[in-house]
């Protein structure tokens, strides 16, 4: 889930992680040394133990100094080849088969087919890659030891660390290569699966005149494709976009076919003469041809249009294209000047007048001159449109948009105003909306998002705001009915700014479960309507801007979390994002491989797999375990130590960021042993166990406490696999930032390094021939 990712800025992340890493490594060294010292002293006595430990430290240092990339690479190559012999082909074949048959079970007419498809391919690849990574690496070293091939390797000057690192590199490059192939196949699969075409029949449009104006709109519905159709509205020029269905929309543009018979008049104001021609335009847009005849058609002449531009989908800045430009050389017979002239003009495209006339108008230029207008000559043409508008107009529905994208959001921080206008927390409407705070409609309550880094350079055309807010209705009624709300831009109070400036409210109607986009222009009226505000000059201070979200209907509620309203900074390439998603999978597999290789230095294959499974489970459930354990510990400590409780109270740790952890709360059911006792005695979580003496119960609770402490300690060093789960980003169309990619990559490198060193000592201290 994306909401778990409150991605820290890289610098902040790096510093805190580096400190944590150093602490953990130091602890590992201390513990490792203590254990080694203890074992050696017990076995050999203090003097010999000292000798042995210095020898171990000395060789470890010399092995580090003598590290050879070539030897490591040799092991990596071998691991790669070994992997190819083993499972890779089978696993890959399985993937291809899954892809082949997936089409049967994946519904392209699902609500959000892109999400479905992308989640499917990424999940499949993920599981296959993880399984393969674990099998490859868990069986490799143990089988080398079992078949004794390790004898010939380890009696060479190759260092234990090089063997481990080589294996990790070899297997992970193999898995990486396989993932790369899977990535390409999946990408094609998703893109092809999403591709579909709609068409529109012009004759089926309904015309609608906007009240009190000359402006007309045309409404229609596209044909059905992939199990859905889109209603749409276009303007007079036939430009517009469809409504969002199945998570995407299409742009619509209209081509006007000017082929057919045209009547021309060429009027010469000098002589007052006016001659009429009939021109028959034919051919296609790319290579048009025209035949012209004067009056009754007695003077045929053939000439080609040089260029003939029409509004295409590409220049779909909808409102502005009202005419199609064209350029055309008229033969001398037509111009009456004894020389050919160039006609540059425009064809007007009045959709409203379909069934009426297209008009053409332009000036004549010297054919080979540059912008030299031939005065006195004008050309005017009219075309009688065919009876069937589909012969003249061609509505083109573009590719799907909004489905396979990688949006780059700028998130803000969120605070709430209560219904009386004072700061507070959002209303909790119960489990359903636990991640969102709610704002009551028709009150002073508001959700305030503060954004940073809002500059005219980043957003020259204003702010594209996207919202995905929750709506909670307290009255019965039509669930489809929208709830009105508003956004207001507010100049925040900062160190350099003391005056609040508010824009007028931008009203919108909620569309729950659908992303809503509101484009905020650079010019916006002030709250009282007295003046025009410039977004960057009047509302943004030091790059900071507040957006206030309110619900405008009494007794209705809007819910928002920090990520629900964001400014869409731009888009990055979907393919790149897809690759980044696979990169996360690769990193995840690499961590698994590193763990497997490390464990396999002292465990058998099957046990290695079990150990790695434990690590993975801990890693995936990390947040839950960590928070739960922390709470358990804190609760016990607060119960047992009034002093601790006072400290927490005076430091104000019960509220704010740490509130979730430090707040005194029930620890229903207790830890492992207590829970087990409760199950056996059939006591639910809230009943006191009175049949067991108080002292005994106390001992059990402390035992549970230390048990949880140990689990918590493990959790600290186990990789947080959920932070590698970026599939949701790709599926929901959000860009995986380079920051996150860098953090994941660095974390993986740290794991590989640490586990290699750990494995080095395990392998060194092992008798491989025993």
């Amino acid at each position: 889930m994306i909401e778990q990712f409150q991605v820290l800025p890289f610098g902040e992340w790096f510093v805190s992680s580096a400190i944590f890493y150093v602490v953990v490594v130091t602890l590992l060294i201390v513990i490792g040394f203590a254990v080694a010292a203890f074992l050696n002293v017990v076995r050999y006595g203090p003097l010999e133990a000292f000798d042995r430990l210095t020898l171990i430290a000395g060789t470890a240092f010399s092995d580090l100094v003598n590290f050879s990339p070539r030897r490591t690479w040799a092991i990596a190559r071998l691991a790669f080849m070994e992997g190819i012999r083993r499972y890779v082909l089978a696993v890959f074949a399985l993937f291809v088969v899954v892809m082949l048959f997936a089409g049967w079970f994946l519904e392209p007419n699902a609500d959000e087919p892109a999400k479905l498809y992308i989640s499917f391919v990424l999940t499949t690849s993920n599981y296959l890659a993880l399984i393969m990574a674990a099998l490859l690496s868990a069986f490799s070293l143990p089988s080398d030891i079992a078949t004794k091939t390790i004898y010939t390797v380890i009696t060479k000057p190759v260092r234990a660390g090089e063997i481990l690192l080589g294996k990790i590199v070899g297997f992970s490059s193999l898995v990486g290569l396989m993932l790369a192939a899977m990535c390409v196949i999946s990408y094609v699969f998703v893109v092809r699966g999403m591709a579909h075409d709609h068409t529109v029949a012009v004759a089926d449009l309904t015309e609608e005149r906007l009240p009190n104006s000359d402006v007309y709109l045309y409404r229609g519905v596209t044909t059905r494709a992939n199990g859905h159709l889109h209603p749409f509205t276009v303007n007079q020029q036939g430009q517009g976009e469809t409504e969002i269905e199945n998570g995407h929309y299409h742009r619509i543009a209209t081509l006007f076919d000017v082929r057919g018979a045209w009547t021309f008049t060429v009027s010469d104001s000098a002589s007052g003469s006016e001659r009429t021609f009939v021109a028959v335009m034919s051919g296609s847009v790319g290579s048009p041809a025209v035949q012209i005849a004067e009056g009754d058609g007695s003077l045929p002449a053939a000439e080609s249009l040089e260029a003939w531009s029409r509004p295409q989908l590409a220049d779909a800045s909808y409102a502005s294209v009202e005419t199609a430009q064209f350029e055309w050389t008229l033969p001398k017979e037509v111009t009456g000047k004894g020389r050919p002239l160039r006609l540059e003009g425009a064809i007007e495209l009045p959709v409203r007048e379909r069934g009426g006339f297209l008009s053409i108008e332009g000036d004549l230029y010297e054919a080979d001159g540059e912008g030299e207008i031939v005065s006195g000559l004008t050309v005017r043409g009219l075309q009688r449109l065919a009876e069937n508008p589909d012969d003249v107009f061609e509505m083109q529905v573009g590719d799907h948009e909004g489905m396979l994208e990688a949006r780059q959001p700028v998130y803000g921080t969120l605070r709430f105003l209560r219904r009386d206008g004072n700061p507070g927390e959002g209303i909790d409407i119960g489990k359903e909306g636990s991640r969102r705070g709610y704002v009551e409609g028709g009150t002073l309550g508001a959700a305030i998002f503060t954004y940073d880094g809002i500059t005219p350079e980043e957003f020259p055309d204003g702010l594209p705001v996207e919202m995905d807010i929750g709506v909670f209705r307290t009255i019965k009624g039509d669930i489809e009915r929208t709830v009105r709300g508003s956004l207001q831009l507010v100049r925040p109070i900062t160190a350099t700014n003391t005056s609040v400036v508010e824009s007028r409210k931008i009203d919108f109607a909620s569309t729950e479960f659908k992303l809503k986009r509101i484009d905020i222009p650079r010019e916006i009226q002030s709250e009282d309507g007295s003046r025009e505000l410039d977004l960057f000059e009047d509302l943004v201070v030091d790059g900071k801007l507040e957006i206030w979200l309110r619900c405008e209907e009494p007794q209705q509620y809007f819910g928002a979390s920090w990520k629900d309203v964001y400014i869409r900074q731009g888009d990055s390439s979907f393919f790149a994002n897809f690759v980044k998603g696979y990169w996360s999978l690769f990193l995840q597999s690499t961590v698994i491989i590193a763990f497997c290789v490390m464990f396999s230095t002292f465990l058998k294959s099957a046990v290695t797999l079990l150990a790695v499974a434990c690590v993975s489970v801990l890693g995936f459930a990390l947040n839950v375990v960590t928070l739960g354990t922390f709470r358990g510990i804190i609760t016990v400590m607060r119960e047992k130590s009034p002093f601790f409780s006072r400290v927490v109270g005076t430091m104000g740790l019960e509220g704010g960021v740490w509130g979730d952890v430090f707040q005194a709360r029930e620890n229903p059911g207790g830890g492992v042993v207590e829970s087990a006792i409760r199950i056996v005695m059939q006591k639910n979580q809230t009943i006191d166990i009175d049949t067991i003496p108080e002292g005994m119960m106390m001992a059990i609770r402390w035992f549970d406490f230390f048990g949880m402490l140990i689990v918590w300690l493990f959790c600290q060093v186990v990789p947080n696999f959920s932070s590698f789960m970026t599939a949701d980003f790709v599926a929901r169309g959000y860009d995986i930032g380079w920051n996150l990619v860098a953090q994941q990559t660095l974390a993986t490198a740290a794991y590989v390094l640490t586990l290699t060193v750990l494995g080095y000592f395990f392998l060194r201290s092992r008798e491989v021939a025993a």
Binding site: T59, N66, R70, R71, A74, T152, T155, P157, V768
Partner: protein, 319 residues
């Protein structure tokens, strides 16, 4: 492969003449314990050995006598329970010593999916050899072990003898100063055995030190300068092969084309000096010599040899 070293060179003892110690064990002991720390097997008990530069040292003993354990301790594949093993003056657990060591394990534990060439290339890389040196060595070693025609085939297709040869080539890839051979002739046919022995002697002549363990006693006798005999983890005998096998109170004469009556005279001479003739007879050639002669003749003159069928009583069907 050449047969030039068929004649045992006189250099055999000369090569081992230096006093440089290559391998030394001091009270080397290996005790296997079970999970509870109880002694299961004492595989090696206080072994003290010194092996000098340029000698072929044989470790002999029945199965389970501690030969392989000794070799594994020297290689650092096992850790001693007490005592020390020093190789090139370094502790056996030091990886650095491996740069000068070649090891042919009891069975060739190699990666079956590699070809001979890839195998040697892989092990060459483990010595951090540059590509050019690797290529040169690989070509030379493949010639040495006679695998030119199979160099690109996967080892899984190899016969046992061929695998053994790749194993040997792998052990020599770094031009080692000390070579440890665990049962070098096991699984080889007589020709292969002879070739292996020739290679071993040749290596010794290049000044290399060789430790081999075997229970093929005649192989040991043929090539080793010194031997140690182990039994139940203890050293029972240590010394030069020549002096250990010599019967100082017996004399052997082998003469050619001697008439029968000469034998009588010799017996008389022996009796005159108070000696005792223990046996007189026709010396037989060894099976190995016979086999090698036949094979080399058939290589020189190919084709089926037509010979009178010899009727043997055993061939007749039982009635």
């Amino acid at each position: 492969m050449s047969v030039e070293t068929q004649e045992r060179p006189l250099a055999s003892s000369a090569a081992a003449s230096t006093d440089e110690i290559i391998v030394e064990t001091r009270g080397l002991t290996k005790i296997y314990r079970d999970f509870w720390g109880r002694v299961k097997v004492a595989a090696l008990k206080g072994l003290d050995l010194k092996i000098y530069k340029g000698e072929i040292f044989g470790l002999l003993g029945p199965n389970g006598s501690g030969k392989s354990t000794t070799v594994k301790l020297l290689l650092g594949l096992l850790f001693p329970t007490s005592g020390r093993a020093l190789v090139f003056d370094r502790d056996a657990s030091d990886v650095k010593k491996n740069e000068r060591i070649g090891y042919l394990p009891e069975e060739s534990y190699l990666y079956k999916f590699l070809s001979a060439e890839q195998t040697l290339d892989f092990y060459g890389r483990l010595f951090d050899m540059p590509a050019k040196v690797r290529k040169e060595r690989i070509d030379r070693l493949i010639d040495l072990v006679n695998l030119q025609r199979a160099r690109r085939r996967q080892l899984r297709e190899y016969s046992k003898g061929m695998t053994r040869r790749v194993g040997l080539a792998q052990a020599l890839i770094n031009d080692p100063d000390l070579i440890l051979l665990d049962e070098p002739t096991s699984g080889l046919d007589p020709m292969g055995t002879r070739e292996m022995k020739d290679i071993i002697l040749n290596l010794r002549d290049q000044g290399k030190t060789i430790i081999m363990c075997s229970h093929q006693l005649n192989d040991v006798q043929d090539v080793c300068d010194r031997i140690a005999i182990l039994h139940q983890g203890e050293l029972r005998e240590l010394g030069r092969v020549s002096s250990l096998l010599e019967r100082s109170n017996a004399t052997q004469i082998v003469a050619q084309d001697l008439p029968a009556q000469a034998e009588e005279e010799i017996r008389a001479v022996v009796a005159r000096y108070g000696g005792q003739v223990q046996s007189v007879g026709r010396p037989t050639t060894t099976m190995e010599d016979l086999f090698l002669r036949i094979v080399s003749e058939s290589t020189a003159r190919p084709g089926r040899r037509v010979e009178e069928p010899v009727e043997r009583p055993d061939d007749k069907p039982q009635s």
